[in-house]
Amino acid sequence: MDLTEVDSLIVNRGQDPFDILEVLHDLQARYGYLPEEVLRHVSARLAVPLIEVFRLANFYKAFSLKPRGRHLLTVCLGTACHVRGAPRMLDEVKAELGIGAGETTEDGAFTVETVNCLGACALGPVVVADGVYHEHMNPEKLRALLERLRSEDASLRAEGVGVCVQGTLGCGQDAPGGQAVVAGV
């Protein structure tokens, strides 16, 4: 792993106590998760004990210690989405992909996560796929979306293009094609 890249994210950080969290956010966006090697490096560079760094990475939901799949699906489970049927979206994902929240498919294609609210409540239920918000979801639309992602994934891999690990929610610059994080359906 190229740690000079990690260093470039740490530059100018370290003046404020919350900078450690800012660095972790940036690293999470860059790698899609927080690799152990990177955390060890951050600990040394910012002079924060490793146990503290791991504690932060564990406590905050924004960080993941496990690699994510090539596609990230985030199902919003906010109250407004809940009363409009968001749990059905998770059922559908389970039926289609065989995985629940926080899990990754065996082939590494999909990771499914939940979020407590995206603040797009008027559009619920909302599902975010690789940074793109999909509004007013229902099982049928979700199936079509999964189908599309699957075929995109398959064709990219057939072409031998390595699909980059998707950025987390909120880090659109890592989405393919440099598209803005939220875009129309």
């Binding site: 924004a62 407590n116 797009a120 099982p139």
Partner: protein
């Protein structure tokens, strides 16, 4: 012309509309003559993206990219209104062409959120042109800090984050507290599910918040401020950062602001996705680079806050109220509202109601006015049954209490709370036991686990509600629920634990009959609780088309004459009910 392009707008395709509009302007030779202002959320999220055109004064709803050429040709080149894009009142069928006539806006007092449409959040010149930073200039040149605090106290402004603590008093306590530095913090860690007015403000008008913080910093003697914003709000993070950079460039943040001796700067810190960090002491711990665990409240932030220094922490909406108060005077602000709750409040009206979006009303407006007059009432001809306010710390209020005014004390007395302003409407298709269970599951995930009443209490309550919703409940468990609720409310360290029982207590208080139906009849009246419902095929309506056969993932539909469902195989997912074209499959 303006195009709303907040998170809701962008999710509804506003960026594609923008490209199409720009292309149409280019093609029709109007690009030089027309300015397209891309704004944040204008509040009517239901009908996003919204386009308004001046001086024609027309509002178009749910605009699609393919409408762009027609809008430009008709409305901009010829000054004609494209009627098919205007809002049509679903009740009267009346055509609404201007924003002012829109029933959703007409009954609101859009003092704060209404400013969004005049401002491109990424362009400080728009904000200044709309009168921005005038309050800061007035404060720095004409008022001393004590006078600012007096003015805020006299206005009666109270914290908009939920607690309702008087803002002026908080500032005063911070000002007099000894310390080498003082700090101000903006809490934009809007974790309440179902609430997004802080996102709407910060994303749509970040300079309003920055100006409020600068005034607050001047009043309490702070040189440094922080905006702690959820990372789940990427646009809000981006716009705040841009706004800070632009304000620095113009000398509205930084050293010697506007040539005075006052220096102040702001930094953005992104939240880590922990609900408990909305709690003030946990937020400060997070800012200090630690895990977001709260601490006992007897040591106040105004004396020992960030880095143990005196700190004022206010919510986004509270900060947003500050510049207009200082500009227009406390009397102007205090003239609105009820005796103890002044000004306006923004609510995020969502759930099973016709018009959803951000609603700003004068304090004292009744829930009925908000839900029926502004929200337009129920959808699909159903009956509205309850409204949930205050998120996981609040409660569910029944229709019989809809004449309650929006007021800190009135809502608390009814067993709910103002909260930060989420308002989720529920109709008869929602099960109140399920709603209470939903919040407990949420809180179980979010409890930091530091203190026992909260950590174990929530777990135990959730176990009981799960029993009830799955048909294993016992009548004596309702008493246990109440006992646990009491222990948690007196024994927990922070507001998360203290208020965690509210959703359960309020549903028990107002919807006990639903709990009893689950317990005594093993029946879920709304048909939501999976374990307690079953499906049947009405032979009268069934056309034996076979759609359900293909839909059922379990193969539970038996192709007899008539079709029937095998109870042993049925997982009660409800897919067949949705798929049936003859509506012959029903829940019981």
């Amino acid at each position: 012309m303006t195009l709303s392009s907040g998170t809701c707008g962008q999710a509804s395709g506003s960026l594609a509309v923008l490209r199409a509009l720009q292309q149409a302007l280019e093609e029709q030779g109007l690009a030089e003559k027309v300015h397209v202002r891309v704004t944040g959320c204008q509040g009517f999220c239901q009908e996003e993206p919204l386009v308004t055109i001046q001086p024609l004064d027309v509002l178009y709803c749910s605009v699609k990219p393919e409408d762009a050429a027609e809008i430009v040709a008709e409305s901009l080149a010829n000054g004609r209104i494209v009627e098919r894009l205007c809002y049509r009142d679903p009740l009267t069928g009346r055509l609404v062409t201007t924003a002012a006539e829109l029933p959703f806006f007409a009954k609101q007092d859009r003092e704060l959120i209404g400013r969004n449409q005049f401002v491109d959040p990424c362009d400080i010149r728009d904000y200044i042109a709309a009168g921005g930073y005038a309050a800061l200039a007035k404060v720095l040149t004409q008022m001393d800090p004590e006078k600012v605090i007096e003015e805020v106290k006299a206005s009666g402004l109270r914290g908009r984050g939920g607690g309702g603590y008087p803002t002026g008093r908080k500032w005063e306590q911070c000002r007099v507290a000894p310390g080498c530095e003082h700090y101000v913090i903006c809490n934009a860690d809007e974790g309440d599910p179902g609430a997004y007015m802080d996102r709407g403000l910060l994303e749509g008008n970040p300079h309003l918040i920055l100006e409020g913080m600068a005034i607050g910093a001047y009043a309490v003697g702070a040189r440094q401020g922080f905006v702690y914003v959820r990372n789940e709000y990427p646009l809000a993070v981006e716009h705040t950062r841009t706004a800070i950079a632009q304000a620095r460039e113009l000398g509205l943040l930084g050293e010697r602001i506007l040539g005075t001796d006052f220096s102040f700067d702001v930094k953005v810190a992104r939240g880590g996705g922990a609900f408990v960090c909305g709690e003030s002491t946990a937020l400060v711990a997070s800012l200090e680079g630690k895990v977001g665990e709260p601490r006992p409240k007897d040591v106040h932030l105004v004396e020992h806050g960030y880095l143990d220094q005196p700190t004022v922490l206010n919510n986004v909406e509270t900060w947003a109220n500050v510049p207009p108060i200082l500009l227009n005077g406390s009397g102007w602000f205090a003239a609105k509202g009820t005796e103890k709750s002044k000004g306006t409040k923004i609510f995020a009206l969502t759930g099973q109601v016709k018009n959803t979006g951000l609603v700003e009303v004068e304090m004292g407006t009744t829930l009925r006015e908000i839900i029926f007059d502004i929200g337009g009432g129920p959808v699909n001809g159903r009956q509205i049954k309850a409204v949930q306010t205050g998120g996981p710390s609040g409660g569910c209020l029944p229709v019989s209490l809809f004449d309650l005014p929006v007021d800190y004390e009135a809502l608390t007395a009814a067993g709910s709370m103002m909260g930060s302003g989420g308002m989720v409407v529920m109709d008869d298709s929602a099960c109140m036991v399920d709603v209470a269970k939903y919040f407990l599951r949420f809180l179980k995930d979010e409890s930091c686990g530091k203190c026992v009443p909260c950590r174990l209490g929530i777990d135990r309550m959730l176990e009981i509600l799960t029993d009830i919703s799955e048909g294993r409940g016992r009548a004596d468990q309702l008493g246990v629920l109440e006992e646990l609720a009491w222990t948690m409310s007196v024994g927990s360290l922070c507001a998360l634990g203290k208020t965690a029982p509210n959703p359960v207590l309020s549903t028990l208080r107002y919807f006990r009959d639903e709990y009893e139906a689950h317990l005594n009849e093993r029946r879920c009246p709304a048909g939501v609780c999976q374990a307690l419902r079953s499906y049947f095929i009405d032979p009268e309506l069934c056309s034996e088309c076979g759609v359900c056969l293909d839909t059922c993932p379990e193969g539970a539909i038996v192709e007899d004459r008539p079709f029937r469902i095998d109870e042993m195989l049925c997982k009660r997912c409800g897919l067949c009910e949705e798929a049936c074209p003859a509506a012959a499959i029903r829940r019981v």
